[in-house]
Amino acid sequence: MYNIFSEIWRISYGDLCFIKRHIPETLISALVGPLLYLLAFAYGMRSGDTEAGVDYVAYAIPGIIAISSMTSGYNATAQKILIQRLFHTSFDELVLCPMHTSSLIFGKTVIGVVRGLLGCIILLGLGMFLTDDLVISIWTIPIFLLSCVTFSLLGVTAGLLAKTGPTLTLFASVVILPMTFLCGTLFSIDALPDIVKQIIWALPLSHSSTAIRSFCLGWDVPWVSIGILLIYLVVFYLMDRYIILKKLY
């Protein structure tokens, strides 16, 4: 019987060995960016309560966790696949192994998901130390996981389609970086003009940020954002599947 979890573990074994060998580097690279955002935005630029009725530090930390889930998930996955495709030529052998395409896709997201989850959990722990407004619920880890998997799947897409390292960097500069600042992570998108607000609302990080913030601050369950994140997850997965089956990489 097809056991997707067993196949995902088999596919990701090499990447997990890599993480095990490089735990300090993995943690530092996953945390430096988010910690700088925390220092620069939460402490350096703003203070006091927000319109949402919570302290700005408590408002910003879930946004920074969302950023961390996106950058860690996307970068780790996209870079690893690009290196395996172009430099180690080992991606071909992954495709050749007798595993299902879905296992291959989700197996390649594991390195991004592990890095992203580690970053999210450490940031939440740090946030709870800094402010009393943050809470943990049974939804906390699942929503982190949903966000990390979604952006890691986007990383798979980028890693498969990029022809060179600079192409990948360009995609990160044009797509990932603007989302980092604009998608309601560090300030509410209500402050933006209507047309811009609508465009930004459609982006996945806006919903990751909204969902993580809602659960971390004990607000109502953000069903719409969870639904939209799930749609993004399915779309990214289908894109990856199409690229692999049609061998467009």
């Binding site: 088999r10 060995c17 180690h88 071909d92 192994c97 007798p98």
Partner: protein, 283 residues
Amino acid sequence: MVDDIIVAEGLVKRFGKLTAVDHVDVRIRNGEIFGILGPNGAGKTTTVRLLTTMDLPDEGRIFINGLDTSTQFVDARRRIGIIQQQHSLDKDISVRENIIHHALMQGLSLKEGRKRMMELAETMELTDRLDTLVSSLSGGWKKRVSIVCSMIHHPDILFMDEPTTGLDTQSRNLLWKLIRNLNHSGTTIFLTTHYIYEAENLCDRISIIDDGKIIAEGTPKELIEELGNVTLVRTDSDEPQFSYFRTREEAKEAAKDVGGEFSVMIRKTTLEDVFLELTGRTV
């Protein structure tokens, strides 16, 4: 078990306007060492990528052990192992981790993978290097690791794309010995090479490929016999001219008619002569 372990019919692969593989037919018999000989850019690697299901053909069909690779590719992939031109190993993890990863990817359990790894590592004299990072190994050692990885699941057929390119003489001789041993233990070998000596000495049968087309196929002996076992070489100040004869006596007779301005040599015909005649150039 089928007689022809690989049957490919009418394979075509195009990259834009370039036809890299042009209506290629291949039949590989069970248990043989089959080689594709051709210069760089002739279509050897593309043919391997099509046969191993790494790339999809634009036209044609491939059967591995009777399995149609267009529909039964997961089962077909269980039957094959591949050693690519470049070492497709994860350089940032150890030899042991790479081998176990390959075992897991091929569906073996951790226990089976470890057992098989130790058997193969011993054969390949890798036991002392299992915990070495792949990035610190030389080309010859990486090749040995690649062989272990590709053989971990007992494939019926092993594809080797230019296996000895970049190796020193010692490593090359060792690899040839290993290829013969693998073949004697029942593994069918499909290799590509641009070394004529390698094709002539290692392969039971070869195909010569040029510009994406198979232009000759047979045992090295058959290909040479078809051209003529004996070569008469006439040389003046320009390019040497070659004539081919079935016997040395025929060549000697022909040599008598050669003018005194030429120097003449009679020798055995080689596969290189066959290649030169067929393609108009050396490999």
